[in-house]
């Protein structure tokens, strides 16, 4: 299979899978789940098959159609996109296993619709990852928003509908109101929107306009959840947990930070932006979001909402790393996307497992739950430690790189933010770990439950293992992402 076929396959497979799921659902739910798993595996196999070519410095590409002169739908795999696609496709397999356990364990309705839109969302994610220009990226960005809407509003009751409204409203208005003008502006100024190493705006734009364009991009890409466009993310927590886990800890939010990073690296160019003072606000805006979101997380009593605010903080952490604009920090940003994905999906899986087994959603209800659900809470602990950045977890690796980049840039705002956010992360995760393992059970609650369904436990064990493994095995990733800053075309 040639690599350009592989790219188009990666886009088409989930869509074919979606049709397959719809057809298979008529035969039976087991067949339907088999189709989901099969599609997810085929997708991961296809995407990972592109990796050797990338490692060798190749940049496989595929063009689809030229809509207008200069505007085309085209795809090209580069290190950042490869990382994102590989991550999402791999976690989709695990997440599907988890979904089966969760959706059946909670007897959710409309399961077929759920799996169909999940597959479509994955296709959109692949499109975002491989997009070669801003136009293509925008199309798949909107497709991702629209295809996740039915997932967020899955329950269909009044409260869910209100949250889904916030979700759709913020993501659509920011993308059409800010991101689209930014893209059109870029096309007019630079004559192209193709992602090019070193950027395309150097010499085309200067002064405050750079800062303004950056602002349109950063806030237009609402999926990156930089305050004040973060409110959709806590709202999205009304979705079933597998959606929160894969989409709102990995695919959707990472699509946001990934897009911003890609714009900084390939549209503005690191050196151009570093030399332009009007873009400097990004560091402060993201640093503020990191701290503010952590403080809000500290005050949450609902476990999923706390995780959502933690996600907002971590996303801005990635963006802040990118905004340091030094090679080591850019690598750190990419690595942190992966580390955070493994850790946060584990945490969400654990939260969902707790809910499935015991219907508990609040943090204070978790006293002593570690003894009833040892597997789940072990995984939760590993995920939480990774969020704080304690070795031997993946979170340590990325923090190390980002700190190194911050010192390289002598950026003391960034250093102080990293230190403070680590402390805050510890402050809201450690009490939960303590409660779960060492506190006495609250006898007023019904506590007659064991572990969650096997499929769910299997999935969260796998992701916890990945969180640990990432600490030891990250060489490939570092080499790959090193290519971004070495200027390999």
């Amino acid at each position: 299979m040639s690599s350009s076929t592989a790219i188009l396959m990666a886009l088409a497979l989930p869509l074919v899978g979606a049709i397959g799921i719809a057809l298979a659902a008529r035969i039976g739910s087991n067949v339907r789940e088999a189709v989901t798993l099969l599609t997810a595996s085929a997708l991961a196999w296809t995407v990972w098959g592109l990796l050797p070519e990338l490692m060798a410095g190749g940049r496989p590409s595929a063009g689809l159609v030229e809509v207008l002169p200069g505007i085309e739908i085209a795809f090209r795999v580069e290190p950042l996109g490869m990382l994102f696609a590989a991550l999402a496709s791999m976690l989709w397999i695990i997440n599907s296993i988890y979904s089966i356990g969760y959706m059946r364990g909670n007897r959710e309705s409309h399961q077929t619709r759920f799996y169909i839109f999940f597959a479509i969302a994955l296709s959109a994610t692949m499109g975002i990852a491989f997009a070669d220009n801003l136009f293509t990226l925008f199309l798949f960005y909107e497709l991702l928003t629209l295809s996740t809407y039915p997932l967020v509003s899955h329950k269909g009751d009044a409260k869910t509908v209100q949250s889904a409204r916030t979700y759709l409203g913020i993501l659509l208005t920011t993308s059409i109101g800010l991101l689209l003008p930014a893209i059109i502006w870029t096309y007019f100024v630079a004559g192209t929107g193709t992602f090019t190493p070193g950027g395309i705006l150097d010499g085309k734009l200067e002064g405050p306009a750079v800062g303004l364009l950056l602002g349109l991009f950063v806030f237009g890409i609402g999926k990156a959840a930089v305050m004040p466009v973060h409110r959709w993310l806590p709202a999205a927590m009304v979705a079933p947990t597998p959606v929160s886990a894969l989409l709102h800890a990995v695919a959707v939010v990472k699509a946001g930070v990934f897009t911003v990073t890609k714009v900084i690296v390939y549209i503005f160019g690191i050196d151009f932006l570093f030399a332009e003072p009007s873009g400097g606000w990004l560091l402060y805006a993201t640093a503020f979001t990191v701290i503010a979101a952590s403080v809000v997380a500290l005050r949450q009593s609902n476990l999923k909402r706390m995780l959502a605010y933690s996600t907002i903080g971590q996303l801005s952490f990635v963006l802040m790393a990118a905004a340091i604009l030094k090679p080591l920090a850019e690598i750190g940003a990419a690595v942190h996307m992966v580390a955070h994905a493994f850790g946060k999906i584990t945490l969400f899986f654990a939260a969902g497992a707790i809910y499935t087994a015991s219907k508990k959603t609040e943090i204070f209800q978790l006293r002593g739950i570690g003894r009833r659900m040892p597997w789940t809470m072990t995984a939760f602990t590993i995920g939480a430690l990774s969020m704080i950045g304690v070795p031997p977890t993946g979170g340590f690796v990325s923090k190390w790189y980002i700190l190194a980049g911050a010192f390289q840039a002598e950026n003391y705002v960034a250093i102080a933010t990293i230190v403070l956010s680590t402390a805050l992360n510890a402050a809201y995760f450690l009490p939960i770990i303590y409660l779960a393992w060492f506190a006495q059970e609250d006898s007023t609650l019904s506590n007659e439950h064991g572990e969650a369904p096997f499929a769910a436990v299997l999935a969260l064990t796998l992701t916890a293992a990945l969180t640990l493994a990432f600490f030891f095995f990250n060489g490939t990733l570092l080499i790959l992402e090193g290519q971004i800053v070495q200027g390999t075309p």
Binding site: L139, E142, A158, V161, A164, R165, G169, T173, I176, I184
Partner: protein, 496 residues
């Protein structure tokens, strides 16, 4: 072998025109509708063949009864008219296919043959205007289409349509009269009614006052018929109270035909002959276009009735078409002509979706539509897609025209930047008013007991065809873009 294709321009008009009295004779229920659909689809097929011929580089010229041009009636089809013909016949066919049930419900059985005959006459008049090559026949076709469309609008059970149509009749007649006065003056000075002859002959008398007056009368008269802001006041009520299928048909093409004629007169007849015409044209229409874009969008934002909301949106969209033309450049005119096509797609699909809603909801006020998406997910899906096209989201047809329009505007330096800002602002307002509908339909709490679910399959299928066409022409726009750029170059052949 005889080449039948030379007769296509004549058949384009003759088929619907002769089908009209035929439809009148078909008394049994449903037959008149079937005849109208058949004639409309046949006309559409002819328009497609004409378009294919034009794309091959052919220019159709036809002399009725082989009488040479100044004496006989001449017909002609080029890229611009082919595009307009596609829009008219396509809109008519889709509206008729979708409208069978709703028209059946709206119109008493014994009046149906009359109604469909009027529809076919309207169609014949509308296609006659782009096909005809002389100013007087154009006037005749214009009157046929206007009179027939008054009947169509007033044909429904809604009594409020009567004052609306009366206003339309008065304003439309004033517009047509102005046009007639204009061509009368030109005939007086040049002795010809043939557009091609006028193009050559006005030159000799260009410095005479009557020609200037004629240019003014014709431009204003056609602007009135095209609902150019602030001459749009007849449009919103006429669209709102017309039967739903009629709204689909007229919203997609009625004003476009007048715009077609306006551009044709101003660029081909007056431009080569009047000194400084392009500058006057531009200075006169550009401010009106910008005002239309902004003010009509704002009015739409606060409108509560769904049909009237999108009627005001049409006024704003006409502003886009004029704005492109007022730039007097190939890029600008391409944007205009492309938008004639794309707006017909978007607005046609939107009004089709509204017709779907109307099959289940008696009142089309926003508050009444709360929670509609839960009852009619497919209808609202098509609505969202078409709404995106209206806003100009990439991937839909609307984006293509906005893109051309912005590119064209930016060629004009600082004025261009202001224009681009106006376009962006009005697109955001469009997003806001489309969002209001989405908000009500998706997030509102349904009131009262729900009765019935999704719209009938027939009308829904047609709606989705139109909605998907927005997607198709957003990703593969070569057909409208090719026709439009050919048309733009031909229109600008006299501009220095």
């Amino acid at each position: 072998m005889i080449d039948w294709s030379v007769h296509l321009p004549a058949l384009q008009v003759i088929v619907p025109m002769l089908s009209a009295p035929f439809a009148l004779l078909l008394r049994p229920r449903g037959l008149a509708w079937a005849a109208a659909v058949a004639a409309s689809l046949f006309a559409f097929a002819i328009a497609v063949m004409l378009t294919l011929g034009v794309l091959d580089g052919r220019n159709f010229e036809y002399q009725m009864g082989n009488w040479p041009a100044p004496y006989g009636i001449e017909l002609g089809v080029d890229a611009f008219s082919a595009l307009v013909l596609l829009v008219i016949t396509g809109a008519s066919s889709l509206a008729l296919l979708a409208g069978r049930r709703s028209l059946d419900a709206d119109i008493e059985e014994d009046r149906q043959p009359l109604f469909y005959a009027a529809w076919l006459l309207a169609l014949a008049g509308l296609v006659g205007i782009p096909v005809a090559a002389d100013a007087f026949n154009i006037f005749v076709f214009m009157e046929i289409s206007s009179l027939a469309s008054y009947v169509l609008i007033a044909g429904g059970p809604d009594r409020r349509a009567l004052p609306a149509v009366f206003k339309y009749l008065i304003m439309g007649t004033i517009g047509a009269t102005f046009y007639l006065i204009g061509i009368g003056l030109i005939y007086l000075m040049t002795g010809t009614l043939n557009l091609a002859d006028m193009e050559l002959r006005i030159h000799e008398v260009a410095d005479q006052k009557p020609i200037l007056v004629a240019a003014g009368f014709i431009t204003i008269g056609l602007a009135l018929k095209a609902a150019v802001f602030p001459l749009h006041v007849w449009l919103p009520n006429a669209y709102t109270y017309a039967p739903n299928a009629v709204t689909v048909f007229l919203a997609a093409c009625a004003t476009k035909v007048s715009l077609y004629l306006l551009l044709r007169f101003d660029f081909l007849v007056f431009q080569p002959n009047l000194i400084g015409h392009d500058v006057q044209f531009s200075y006169f229409l550009m401010p009106l276009a910008v005002l239309a874009i902004l003010i009509a969008s704002l009015v739409a934002l606060f409108e509560k009735n769904l049909k009237r909301l999108f009627a005001y949106s049409s006024v704003a969209q006409i502003g886009y078409i004029l704005l492109g033309a007022s730039l007097v450049s190939v890029a600008g005119l391409t944007a205009s002509v492309v938008h004639i096509f794309n707006h017909a797609l978007a607005k046609g699909a939107l009004f089709l979706a509204i017709a779907c809603l109307a099959t289940r909801y008696s009142s089309l006020r926003l508050e009444n539509l709360a929670g509609a998406a839960r009852r009619m997910p497919w209808t609202m899906g098509a609505f969202v897609l078409a709404g995106f096209s209206l806003v100009g989201v990439p991937g839909t047809a609307g984006f293509i025209s906005k893109w051309y329009l912005m590119t064209a505007a930016l060629d004009h330096g600082s004025v261009g930047v202001v224009l681009v800002m106006a376009i962006v602002i009005s697109s955001l307002i469009a997003l806001a008013y489309v969002w209001r509908v989405i908000e009500a339909a998706y997030f509102g709490e349904p009131k009262g007991a729900a009765s019935g679910g999704e719209a009938p399959v027939g009308i829904l299928a047609v709606t989705w065809i139109a909605a998907l066409a927005n997607l198709y022409y957003g990703l593969a726009p070569s057909l409208p873009v090719t026709l439009a750029s050919t048309a733009a170059e031909s229109l600008l052949r006299h501009v220095p």
